[in-house]
Symmetry: C2
Subunit: 238 residues, 2 copies
């Protein structure tokens, strides 16, 4: 169905504008993606509710709303407003947890979270779990920096390290306090790699739950970026 | 010397405001850093010309200018304006090129460039070289995302791959078209690791100059983030 809307006070448009707020996105499990690349990533993964554009888009077999440019500007979160957007949603994940999991314990920069999801997908990890204090999967920067990976490996946010331990996962925590060089960690079939906050690292309470606390040797500087450290470890244990 | 300035039309303040432009920073080899962490990184590396603050800062033994908040706001490039900044500069690098070099061929995102510099320093690389079409070392995001590493491993921008080849460096190019898995690249004492643009990768002309073209095996997605790929290779060849 293709629908033209020309008024910014239309109730649907008002709903779309509200979705600039991450909280609103979370509550409604819906978010706007902007630009052809992002729309295509969502579309390929059947996560588009409808297309939003200033003209009919024949490439997409789904509902569309056509709006004037000033409404696109109101809906967009970006300075340069694209003429193609989509209202999208995350499908419910019903599949069982896989064997190779990355757990983000308070990773706050959405660019880091998105990059870690992209890397996890590229290295064949099954799941990414976000602690409640990590950047949200609804944050636009998380979505954009994942380069579409987030639509294939939708992060979960309802599991604790205690629960994962009970499920028999081997818990590998990375910390500057780690004693074991990362190449010496014994390989397990079923494991969780825990990465921590940019400033504080993994929370002390979660370090205590680890089966092994490991580190990457560095020189000249205090720390690596968390997405960089995560990538080196994901690559080693993949 | 401590100097109070209260007018935004003061010539020095006008110069400082101009430094929001990367071109102006480049031409004058000077840039503003904002916030205590960044100021401290510069100060420790003797790259502060003077401190800019709304009050005297007894922690720093160097020239200071004291200005009201509205002038700090004019100088700052950030939404949340810190009360401590510094005018900084890059020292001229007179030391000879080291053996382990990272060359960025058109890496455009300053966050990626900064993160690569941070990783290069952490893994003991000697030099980072930026092609003319890479993000500038004067870009504020490059500086901030390097977490101070850029003051210790100041990127060079006056060397081509041809020159490096003539100097006897082994040229390792990473490309999705690469045939050699990265772990099979033979280790050399003196080498250059070439990383390419986020979208296009390393330029074709530079791929042709490589001694080896290597790749990291990935699945499910087209590519890794360049700072991630770079980190895995830097770690392997360090």
């Amino acid at each position: 169905m293709i629908k033209k809307i020309t008024s910014a006070s239309n109730p649907l448009i008002k709903e779309l504008i509200k979705l600039k707020s991450v909280r609103e996105r979370k509550e409604t499990n819906s978010f706007i993606v902007e630009g052809k690349d992002m729309v295509d990533f969502c579309y390929e993964n059947n996560m588009v509710k409808f297309i939003i554009s200033d003209q009919e888009q024949s490439a997409y077999q789904c509902d569309q709303i056509i709006v004037p440019t000033f409404i696109l500007e109101k809906i967009s979160s970006n300075k340069s407003v694209p003429s193609l957007m989509a209202l999208s949603f995350y499908k419910e994940e019903n599949k069982a947890l896989g064997n190779k999991i990355v757990y983000l314990d308070g990773v706050q920069d959405p660019g880091n979270v998105g990059t870690i999801i992209r890397t996890a997908l590229a290295f064949g990890y099954d799941d990414v779990i976000l602690s409640i204090d990590s950047a949200s999967k609804y944050n636009e920067k998380t979505i954009v920096s994942s380069k579409g990976a987030i639509f294939k490996i939708i992060p979960r946010d309802n599991l604790t390290i205690d629960q994962l331990k009970e499920l028999g996962y081997y818990i590998i925590v990375t910390s500057l306090k780690g004693a074991i060089p990362y190449k010496e960690v014994s390989k397990k079939d079923k494991f969780v790699l825990v990465l921590g906050n940019e400033g504080q690292g993994v929370k002390e309470e979660n370090i205590l739950k680890a089966d092994v606390v490991t580190k990457i040797a560095i020189e000249n500087i205090d720390s690596l970026n968390v997405a960089i450290a995560g990538a080196i470890l994901m690559n080693e244990y993949r």
